[in-house]
Symmetry: C2
Subunit: 356 residues, 2 copies
Amino acid sequence: MTEPKIHSPATPEAAKKQPRDGKGNATIYDIAKVAGVNPSTVSRALSKPGRVSAKTQKLIQDAAAELNYQVNPFARALPTGRTNTFGLIVADITNPTFFDIIRGAQTTGTLRDYTLVLAESAESAATELTAARRMMATADGLILASPRMDDDDIRALARDKPVVVINREVEGVPSVIPDVRKGIGEAVRSLAANGHKRIAFVAGPAQSWMSARRWEGFESACEWSRLEAVRVESTKPTVDGGRQVARDVLSTGATAVLAYNDLLAIGLMQELQAGGMAVPDQISIVGFDDIFGADFTTPPLTTVRSPLGECGAGAAARLLDLLQGKGNAEPEGTLQMETELVLRGSSGRLLAAGQR
Amino acid sequence: MTEPKIHSPATPEAAKKQPRDGKGNATIYDIAKVAGVNPSTVSRALSKPGRVSAKTQKLIQDAAAELNYQVNPFARALPTGRTNTFGLIVADITNPTFFDIIRGAQTTGTLRDYTLVLAESAESAATELTAARRMMATADGLILASPRMDDDDIRALARDKPVVVINREVEGVPSVIPDVRKGIGEAVRSLAANGHKRIAFVAGPAQSWMSARRWEGFESACEWSRLEAVRVESTKPTVDGGRQVARDVLSTGATAVLAYNDLLAIGLMQELQAGGMAVPDQISIVGFDDIFGADFTTPPLTTVRSPLGECGAGAAARLLDLLQGKGNAEPEGTLQMETELVLRGSSGRLLAAGQR
DNA sequence: GCAATTTTGGCAACCGGTTGACAAGAGCGG
DNA sequence: CCGCTCTTGTCAACCGGTTGCCAAAATTGC
């Protein structure tokens, strides 16, 4: 009497189920029937090139085309564990630094037939770890861009599946980082050539690995050029943070500034200009990263370009090599990307006060 | 005698397999063994609240916690077809318009325990369709941001699984669009109040649905304010495209411009300023979208803000409602988001040539 | 205290591929 | 023409959950 199987087509349930039963979901069993072979033969024909004879291969491919078959990724993933998917975790999707990284990773991923899954950690090490764990379950590998978590946590993840880190070096885990020395060297020499004697570095977050590297590079470049390097701390690496740090920068008496990133540089420039300072006539400003919009400012921002897109692409390539068994030769080690100075209008010669 | 199961740990194969066999992959069978119940009971306890008694529930949950079990998403997806995943396809990851959309979608997705999968169509309708098809196989639903493909293609996709469209209206498919009228009305009235008589609209791509809407809104707002509206075509909706169109804009004799998007506006402003024009003294420029960086320019760009983040979030919420069976009341129809004028420095009163 | 009813847990089939083992068939030399 | 090797297709088990059906157990009513 009870008839639990009735699908009254009006219910949302029925509507939801429809697609799966409908068309477009041919299985290897359907193909096998059409081609008159065994399902496993179909499986081999479709994924192990050369394992079946040329003529059954063709037979099967035709049948597959006719039914417009596509593999069910889950069915494939279940026994193999491979998903043709990789994860990318960024600290903050809002932060333009990551845009290019995402794009680079996405592009090379697609090129090599991998799908990108994106997650955000909201700048929290805990959230980041959670997200990473979750991704590990579904993705074949993971890219961590500027991770906030411990080295140990990263290594633990890397023990499960291939992991590539961007913007940080972790012992035993392959990484892709921009080599800041060249770019910073160019920036500092350029400032020195323009007559600056004391230049300030506006630091990023205290726990940022990258900020530490940039400060190191800055210090040694200044030493080399016999300039006085002073360090100013910022509250947060954003436009707003740049605004807030303007007063501190001025009080150092520096005539040029290298900021930890472009956002800080832009905020700083805005605030200084609002206070009547002329850029670059009274103070030179150099940013870092060459993010989208760095050339929207007036004057356009001089900046040390990090090849973010290439970092993303490089990390993806690295990861995919690992996944596909290539590049076993050097499973770890650091891939250094070159940085370079992009000279625009916000840096230049200091004009004496009288010359204004 | 034959021992086919031997894993020689030295081979890369073994290394690859390791993670799956290692720790961290407890199954419901393991839990069942520990808790002394049947696997199916475990399955029920974990996914059908209330289906098993409170005390076995607890028993099972403890066992699960102890083994730190996590479901294998593929195993779950295989019989059910549900993946707790949704796709987002954008035309161009480079385009900052989409950044906020991505972020909005990602955020609400994560909040509701769904994972975002991102794809890019490279502005090509064909690529877009391919990507969409591929996603359909793995995702529970799809968000199309500013899709380039035919209405028919979109409807075809929507027949398979829930689809939500952003920045376009497609009969029979739910969509989220910014209602441009309010924002454009404010912009045009503001320009009118500043004494402008003839204003130009720099159009976007010819096939863009959104560009057509913006032009319509512009025309009718101009009519309402008794201003003369002229239309200028652009080659591409980028900073570069904006530069290229500067000459055409000037030749219309318009004293104010509304651009299809901020990139065009920024390029236009750069080129005009490079040619010696003062903004806004000689020409007012208004952009569209309020993208990241719109306030980096000098003067900062006046723009009609599209609530892109909210569009992304709204579309995700809509889609997830659909997936979770909520909101059946209005499975289709358009969700309109309000636009508003963000008045910054690039628009204002026209100064007579003599007043310069 | 017993029958009727509702809970609760177990069994087994299934989702759609993959893969090791094996046997039938093809190709070959002698 | 026979026996050998190599290729090619089939069988069956498996990945890890989900779910319909049924029966045992617990609860309820009288």
